[in-house]
Amino acid sequence: MATSTTQPRAGRQLPDSPRPPRRVGFSQTLGRWDVKVSPYLYISPFFLLFGLTGLFPLAYTAYVSVYDWHLLGGQGDFAGFSNFAFVFQEPNFWKGLRNTFSIFLLSTIPQLMVAVVLAAVLDANLRAKTFWRMGVLVPYVVAPVAVSLIFGKIFADQSGLANSLLGVIGIDPIKWHGAVLPSHIAVATMVNFRWTGYNTLILLAAMQAVPRELYEAAVIDGASRLRQFFSVTIPQIRPTVIFVVITSTIGGLQIFDEPRLFDQLGQGGPGRQWMTVTMYIYELGFGNQKSFGRAAAVAWVLFLIILAVGMLNFWLTRRIASDATPKEARRKKVKR
């Protein structure tokens, strides 16, 4: 709209303009050029920088993955799929995959449930609203690295806070670092600590956008608070739930900081019990092997997995959530 109206207006201004007409003609040409080129000029820094530092490396990963490529030696011979074949027969790759998915599930599902409940609690006419909202967000400003150091101590196998608290209620010490599942729970706890409040606020915003008339109608239909929550709130915030699930999928499957600093060696434990895929990529490319080709192969596999899981999530969340809505509509029709 702005661009199309420029020319005639500039013309209309002519009589009042103190400038000589010749100059206006020139600036008009310049102005037309300005209008045509500026939009592209303004978006170009983003596309240039993002292309060079984001998309190009990601695409080039596929190229590196089919070469013998080393940190020191540089690009070597074409290797076909041998890098992939190598990592697929490595037990550590599969361990990494198992750990990543286990940690991902242990963090996403409980986190989402707690966040929905907390958001529902916050979605009331509270006194000092901002205080409570800020309160749940505090962990977000603590770096994952710092979170990991703190929880590494809390979940220490010997003289850890978690074990001594469990000791108080008579539970034997758990090997938070030594055993597989407990170490996953510990790492997932760090993720949950940092992100639950953040996601709570996203869900809270969605809940506040739910039209209040829907609740009034539900009350008139005799729905309890719990029923309102499941039949009005949850279906209404569906798009936001999808959004939260997909964001945490993309982030969660790439998890690195928290497990890397869970102990001081950063290998994911002696039996690699909490080593994630991204840690494995780091180890292949920058650890002992220094094989960029293999690291790139795993990175590319992880990329495809994230893509697939993201789409699966989208499909599932949509299905589950849209199952609820038509039923609701049908029931209402029956009532009338």
Binding site: M1, A2, T3, T5, Q13, S38, P39, Y42, I43, L49, T53, G54, P57, L58, A59, Y60, T61, L118, V121, N125, L126, R133, G135, V136, L137, V138, P139, Y140, A143, P144, V145, A146, L149, I150, K153, S159, G160, N163, S164, F193, L201, L204, A205, A206, Q208, R212, E213, Y215, I220, I250, Q254, D257, R260, L261, Q264, G266, Y282, G285, A296, L302
Partner: protein, 302 residues
């Protein structure tokens, strides 16, 4: 259709009836919640705050006490300043890490805000061929895990001779797809076409229009975006860890070095944790309100 609205009752039947109507409505937006709600929230906030407090407890204690009892004391002890002094004097280069973190975070957040607003202005308010397609592309790329491109990115940085230099961390952080999407969304609703037209009629060039009309209009969203970019940069570990190494670290990288070299003295590590967290905790006290508003605004639109 449904029951009459509360203001309608107040007008027709008086304030008392309105209050009664309000109380009877389960989810009335005016109703104050009871103590159960507040206790739940207090509990949640205690759970969220306690690990941070625990870090401070350990940081103010000493290694021997911590070894004996995981909870050295519920009240902070007096050793924090001494421990902090040891961390600052240690060979992990804490001051340098702090300076580096400030440099990287300031440059990247200013740049993210500037380039996102520029692109957002273009996408939201200017007409050009390919606009819809390019915007869709931006939205799609917000979901691309670019972190997985580290291997080629590292190769490029090595070619450029940037390994171990801050510029290697700064350049990949200069723009974000999320930022462009965010500013486009905001400017679409916050910047009226009339203002742009008025500026154009007055003979302002496009860039002048951007600078004196769009940029001021974008300020609230720009502040939030800047805050998120700052926090993101300050807490970023993976890429700085790979490309910077131990000689020229940012704070998270320095914390990893601290853990590797002082893992026997938990009070020192926790002092480093507390020291590195203080700047963002101060930022949170000052600007937490904007962070909350930003997350909530992003959710409704995104």
């Amino acid at each position: 259709m449904s029951a009459p609205s509360v203001p309608y009752i107040r007008q027709t039947a008086g304030a008392g009836a309105a209050r009664a109507a309000q109380r009877s409505r389960g989810h009335g937006s005016e109703r104050r919640p009871g103590w159960v709600t507040y206790s739940l929230l207090t509990l949640a906030i205690l759970v969220f705050a306690s690990p941070i407090y625990y870090a401070f407890l350990l940081a103010s204690s000493d290694a021997a006490t911590i070894a004996q009892n995981p909870i050295p004391s519920l009240i902070p002890q007096s050793n924090f300043l001494e421990n902090a002094g040891k961390v600052l004097a240690s060979d992990i280069n804490f001051w340098k890490a702090l300076t580096n973190s400030v440099i990287v975070a300031v440059i990247t957040s200013v740049s993210v805000v500037l380039f996102s607003t520029l692109a957002g202005f273009s996408f939201a308010k200017l007409r050009f061929r390919g606009r819809t397609g390019l915007l869709l592309f931006v939205i799609a790329t917000t979901a691309v895990p670019t972190q997985l491109g580290i291997v080629p990115l590292f190769i490029v940085m090595a070619e450029l001779g940037w390994l171990g230099k801050l510029i290697a961390v700064i350049v990949p952080g200069l723009v974000t797809a999320f930022g462009v999407f965010w500013m486009t969304q905001y400017l679409e609703s916050a910047l009226p076409y009339e203002l742009i037209e008025a500026a154009r009629v007055d003979g302002a060039s496009m860039i002048r229009t951007f600078w004196s009309i769009a940029l001021p209009a974008a300020r609230p969203a720009a502040v939030m975006l800047g805050l998120f970019a700052f926090v993101g940069s300050w807490t970023n570990f993976f890429w700085p860890f790979i490309v910077l190494g131990s000689t020229n670290p940012t704070l998270p990288v320095a914390l990893q070095l601290l853990q590797a070299s002082y893992f026997k003295d938990m009070s020192l590590i926790m002092s480093g944790v507390v020291l590195s967290a203080i700047p963002l905790l101060i930022l949170f006290v000052v600007a937490g309100r904007q962070l909350v508003a930003g997350i909530m605004a992003g959710a409704v639109k995104g």
